[in-house]
């Protein structure tokens, strides 16, 4: 952070760079020049770095092979590629897909785009805690359903869905299952060899990796078509010069997350939730199945005004997701969960990182309490 006194609690939007990731990228930038598609030794060297990163990340998610992992520019691109690439490739078999109501805009808007292309899509609701309603989900399948997409962990309220159950229901209906795992990678156990998941989207910058690199897991044998053209990179599915530095940083950042980091975040999260509840705040989302770094709260006030007041003090939180917080629309996630207008209007998301300190949460809570009482921090 440029201001050492600032308190950054918006880690679901993006995270500070892991020093080991910076070091991994710096050595690529400073010492290596090859394009990973060139056939000379420099190019082969770059391709080796890319494949090392691919193998490391594939190993972390339990992929059967590194070939199941495709590098992209981030989570939104991965989501779009999975939905567009699969549905367009299988148009002859069906024309229907299912998405949950609380998906990231890159899933919801892609479903709408498919709608403009002649596909039909159904939106599955969630319960008051943000969990996909499995009975409703199951009822939405029909002849010609190609794909269902449900995020692993919600970016606003942190609720974690049961991929095993939802993926199994999807497979029972002969469709493929996609999950947006951008928020959960590095925080929740993900073993693709054991999960009934055909596509999973990831992003490096949510886990202290660099911005501009992500990945899409595609189970072996699952056929998709590209959405961009002009090169054979990434098995011809994602043309463009490979981001070797980004891939190296992604792998390094993911490898640097430890169990103790997660346990510490859980402890801080639980402590903050306890204190917020004691002060009369509402905590949104599921308490038991929740990302280790997420706290989403509502109070009798204006969430956006609170955000700016906190920001003035160098405390950075969010209302809704970063992709939507600059819009004056209420959070579609909280609305889908059935929260009242005031609870939506007065909501804030606090998201921790592995470097968040207890003392920072003390300062945040004190400032929030002042704001809730006096309208200023």
């Amino acid at each position: 952070m440029s201001n050492p006194a600032s308190i950054y609690l918006d880690n679901a939007s993006t995270t500070a760079l892991e020093p080991k990731a910076l070091s991994a990228m710096e050595s690529q930038w400073r010492e290596k020049v090859g394009n990973a598609s060139s056939i000379h030794a420099a190019g082969v060297g770059a391709a080796m770095e890319l494949e090392k990163a691919r193998a490391a990340i594939a190993g972390k998610i339990g992929a059967a092979s590194a070939d199941e992992l495709l590098f992209t520019a981030g989570g939104s691109e991965s989501n779009s590629l999975a939905l567009l690439g699969y549905c367009r490739a299988h148009r002859g078999r069906g024309n229907h897909l299912i998405v949950s109501a609380v998906e990231h805009p890159s899933v919801l808007e892609t479903a709408k785009q498919l709608g403009r292309e002649g596909f039909e899509f159904s939106v599955c609701g969630v319960d008051s805690l943000g969990r996909v309603n499995e009975r409703e989900f199951s009822s939405l399948f029909r002849k010609g359903t190609l794909l269902a997409s449900v995020m692993h962990a919600n970016n606003e309220v942190g609720t974690v869905n049961d991929l095993k159950e939802l993926g199994s229901i999807t497979h029972e209906h002969g469709a493929v299952f996609h999950t947006d795992a951008v928020q959960s990678l590095g925080k929740e156990a993900l073993n693709m060899s054991e999960l009934p998941v055909d596509f999973a989207s990831f992003s490096a910058h949510k886990l202290h990796g660099p911005r501009g690199i992500g990945a899409l897991y595609i189970r072996a044998g699952t056929v998709i078509e590209p959405v961009t053209y002009g090169g054979g990179h990434e098995r011809g599915l994602r043309p463009g010069t490979s981001n070797v530095e980004g891939a190296a940083g992604f792998a390094s950042a993911l490898g640097a997350i430890s169990e103790s980091d997660l346990a510490r975040m859980r402890e801080l999260r639980d402590g903050l939730i306890r204190r917020l509840k004691a002060e009369g705040f509402r905590v949104n989302g599921c308490i038991e199945r929740r990302l280790c770094n997420n706290v989403n709260l509502s109070f009798q006030g204006n969430g956006k005004k609170a955000l700016f007041a906190l920001s003035k003090r160098g405390i950075f939180v969010s209302t809704g997701s970063a992709c939507q917080s600059n819009k004056n629309t209420p959070s579609h996630v909280l609305v889908a969960m059935g929260l009242g207008a005031q609870e939506v209007h007065g909501s804030l998301r606090v998201s921790l990182s592995k470097w968040t300190k207890a003392s920072e949460l003390d300062v945040f809570l004190e400032a929030l309490l002042h704001f809730a009482r006096d309208g200023q921090t």
């Binding site: 056939i39 030794a41 082969v44 060297g45 080796m48 890319l50 054979g232 098995r235």
Partner: protein
């Protein structure tokens, strides 16, 4: 030595250049001196590029043989 049973086998058919060479060299780097890696690669660009890339990385090709399916088998000393 060309008759030596390979210690590792990699099927790199369908893997584009230069990723096929990169994966072979990464595997060779993991093996002990004297061991042999056998790789299968496609005809065309791969057989034109991979042997040169492997030799550029200072590994010796012991055997290069086209198979009945048109693809190539290479044995490389680690």
């Amino acid at each position: 030595m060309t008759e030596q049973t390979p210690d590792e086998i990699m099927d790199l058919r369908g893997v584009p250049c230069p990723v096929n060479a990169a994966r072979a060299i990464m595997q060779l780097a993991l093996m002990s001196e004297g061991e042999v890696l056998e790789i299968l690669i496609d005809d065309g660009e791969p057989i034109e590029n991979v042997p040169a890339s492997v030799e550029s990385a200072n590994y010796q090709i012991l055997l290069q043989e086209q198979q009945s399916g048109g693809y190539w088998l290479l044995r490389i000393a680690a």
